[in-house]
Symmetry: C2
Subunit: 120 residues, 2 copies
Amino acid sequence: MDEKQIPVCDFLHVHEDTVQQVLSELPAEERLYDLAELFRMFGDTTRIRILYLLFESELCVCDLAKLLGVTQSAVSHQLRALKDAKLVRFRRAGKTVFYSLDDDHVRSILSLGMEHILEK
Amino acid sequence: MDEKQIPVCDFLHVHEDTVQQVLSELPAEERLYDLAELFRMFGDTTRIRILYLLFESELCVCDLAKLLGVTQSAVSHQLRALKDAKLVRFRRAGKTVFYSLDDDHVRSILSLGMEHILEK
DNA sequence: AATACATATGAACGAATGCTCATATGTTCA
DNA sequence: TGAACATATGAGCATTCGTTCATATGTATT
């Protein structure tokens, strides 16, 4: 042991086998990044509101903008992010574009989150 | 009708009753904020890694710092955030403080998120 | 083709975020 | 009580984020 100056204790408190166990459960760096990116989508009220509005039915961009009381541009930017994260999909109908939830993970994740904050 | 200059369409594409339905499902502003705040906790790789490390067993601050390869200060700051969000709890044992997951919501939410990114 | 409407996108700006450094608090042991 | 160790916290800084404004792209209608 030891030529370290970092201000952390210089030994592990937990047992070595626990360390191995814990590290083996840790997903690969890339997956962790993707996971954080996914949850970051839920980490903004505008995006969360968009997702909740799409809970029941598909909506077009301008409807979303009006219901949210924000700019069409802002909604469009956020929808792009949600689309990239595979949380919403869209279909074109003439000039208007209708967005809807991509799959049920969105509903499940939002429900679990809501459960958590309601219990605490 | 009307005197609006905002660059969004001036009528709703969806039916009025759909609007009512959609708006009635939208949680209160405060809940949406809390929800976003909760998910924001999962939206950072350092915090996600902390949560995954705590999946199997409790760990003290300095162990976490070493396993993550980051400063004790950084970990401490993030643990504070996670604690405020009720995602982790701690117990003091002499000089060291052991952190663990607060409840099973953390595991469920992480699992759902992982499912999503693995499928897409 | 020209116009109007719906949506998308890039640049810019202010606000929030995560880290580091320095230091404070808290605990144990001599 | 003083020294050593573990953790917490505040200030400062660079980066990221979400919005707005201006403008581009795409579609339908005349």
